[in-house]
Symmetry: C2
Subunit: 396 residues, 2 copies
């Protein structure tokens, strides 16, 4: 097999519909896209990375509105892509269906849970791909595969017809290799970008203290060189407080959403999902109730910090993508530190864009930008300029 | 049967769990609450007003986080209440399970879809009740039954473990007879109210042109007397544009969320739901895509209008609640005009509080207040003062 065919086979699900389009006309008529197999497409099964869902074979009668919008703009849907099982996972390894290839670093994982979408984009198989992001599932594979990845403002794009995982955090977003394609897709979802006021770029000093030093040391000077950058501290109350807010809310949502399904007799789920669901079941109301209130305070803090025109720069992930088959279950610190970075936008319901920044040890590393509510246009308008100032953009 | 027992039997579902509490301690330990049968409660079936769901008998393994929060605060859960079938309905009439009683006007409908919750509150059976609001399902029964009803900012309270109907609009909220109870519940969800700046009260002149004149003429002078009120026009682009934005998005979401379920072989749904699902299936991507972009413009318009400290006053519903059994299916204008009022907060993802305002022909009529994102605290802080200035509050 050619390399591209190898990537394709590992990225797309076996039950994918054949490539199709709704119309030949529209602003995206020259583009193709892939869809994470968490979104319903009429006539296909939505397996969500789980063999029981595939076997049940429920054929969707409707296409998710989030998929209909690029279709109505003329884009060709190339098919459905693999996801971590029920969208729970940071690395893209699916016990049942394999691990999509990271085209930018084939011995390393692509990142998850929107793993097949990231792989298909990075491998040049499609122009863009839809994913979902609850706690980093677009941003992390974006960083690992060296592509752009946008998590959108909570609630801005419909999640109807998309498997719910933790509905307080679930969002739809997309990935692409170029800022131009990112922006064209954005215009289709949100309309043309109006006049944007000048952006205040803020560097979250304390966020750069989180990742592995090889990543932090590569990214920090690049971030500081992005222009006049004000340095701020992000983690009011300390990083642990943010994680202590995110975790019970995310797990409480997960238990409420998938707990009944996962516990059904004879249900086939991987050991890691079973373990995760068991953990989710231990979360009590006494954990959830204060965290829900803390989340409000953290949201207000972020909105105050960003004001009308701020964008905050943070590292996207803790480290280089781990090696395939390298005992991913053991990478507790990796997950914890990455989550400490990704939970900020998730908690505050804000959009975040991963931009490919540089290579470390020959592997892509991304830098992230968080804007205020409905700040996607601001992020996308800045993306090309920021990218051009970074080694990954200068090399391209 | 005593009157209260009659109300109780019509409000609570037959498969309701017996009253229970999680703890005897907490800020709501002296209060009881009812829960719309759209929320999962561990050990109970969530029937969502549909007989097939009841028959399927799936026992929830988890309690929805939105229910866990008042439980953790010590409130007693009195049980589950009737809803319009799959939360689709404005009047509270459920073909399979009957129509809860409107204690304030027993010959009229209670309003829906959070009908049993409104009835239980208005009848004095519980202190507060949880409902959901997609396009008015808390605000309308609040107005019809003469109680307070809060739709919350989209995404502010978790909808995990709550049946999804149109996820771009679905929210959780609550109803109560007194502003004090409304606020106490708000503090449990959102934390204590901080210092609020003074509120600018805005009266949406064009919104008062929508309802039946008997309602508009009763409400308008009351709204104008609420203090220094600036009059504004709300419906940029015209009322029809707002409805043309809301409808395809809501129906598109509905089709994507419940279309596959509703179309399953042998599915038992009422004729009105079958009709609604058939309508939803006709909505195309060409309807959804522009509406999604229009929604962004309407959201920005509302946020600009409200600024940091604005609250907009509008009528809650078109008219007095219709009579029970009065050919509700025919009330197309009633639904259209009420939706024209309720869709504003739904589209802009904003919180809206119904306050009992006055009686018209001996029947309660509510006035509504819309705040900016996360403005629930502002609305709840104002509620007692506003209510005291209105005939319904002066009478109480």
């Amino acid at each position: 097999m050619t390399q591209i065919e190898t990537i394709r086979r590992a990225a797309f699900v076996g039950h994918s519909p054949a490539p199709f389009r709704a119309t030949w006309e529209g602003p995206l008529a020259d583009l193709s896209f892939a869809v994470k197999d968490l979104f319903d497409i009429e006539g296909a099964v939505t397996a969500c990375g789980n063999p029981d869902r595939l076997k049940a074979g429920v054929i969707a009668r409707a296409t998710a509105p989030a998929v209909q919008i690029p279709l109505a703009a003329g884009a060709q849907c190339a098919g459905k892509t693999h996801t971590d099982e029920v969208a729970c996972g940071m690395f893209g390894d699916n016990e049942f269906f394999g691990t999509p290839i990271n085209p930018a670093a084939p011995d390393r994982v692509p990142g998850g849970s929107s793993a097949g979408s990231a792989s298909a984009v990075a491998g040049g198989l499609v122009d863009f791909a839809l994913g979902t992001d609850t706690g980093g599932s677009i941003r992390v594979p974006g960083s690992f595969c060296g592509i752009f990845g946008l998590r959108t403002t909570f609630g801005r794009i419909s999640v109807a017809g998309v498997m719910a995982m933790a509905p307080s955090f679930d969002t739809v977003g997309w990935m692409a290799r170029s800022p131009a394609v990112m922006s064209r897709v954005g215009e289709v979802y949100f309309g043309p970008t109006g006049d944007l006021s000048a952006t205040r770029l803020l560097l979250a000093r304390d966020a750069f203290a989180i990742p592995n030093p090889r990543v932090a040391q590569a990214l920090l000077p690049l971030a500081r060189a992005l222009g006049p950058v004000a340095e701020v501290d992000l983690y009011r109350g300390g990083v642990a407080h943010w994680l202590d807010t995110f975790r019970p809310l995310q797990l409480g949502d997960l238990h409420a959403t998938l707990g009944t399904w996962a516990a059904a007799e004879g249900r086939q789920v991987s050991a890691s999902i079973a373990q995760r669901m068991a953990l989710a079941a231990t979360v009590t109301a006494a954990d959830i109730a204060p965290a829900a209130r803390w989340r409000e305070g953290l949201t207000e803090h972020m909105i105050d910090l960003l004001g009308a025109d701020g964008v905050i720069c943070i590292p996207t992930a803790h480290d280089l993508p781990p090696f395939v088959g390298g005992g991913l279950e053991q990478l507790i610190e990796f997950r914890e530190k990455t989550l400490a970075l990704t939970c900020v936008a998730s908690l505050a319901r804000l959009p975040q864009l991963n931009i490919p920044a540089t290579m470390v040890e020959g592997v892509p590393v991304g830098l992230s930008f968080i804007a205020g509510p409905r700040g996607e246009e601001r992020l996308l308008a800045m993306a090309a300029t920021l990218h051009a100032q970074l080694p990954a953009g200068r090399a391209a």
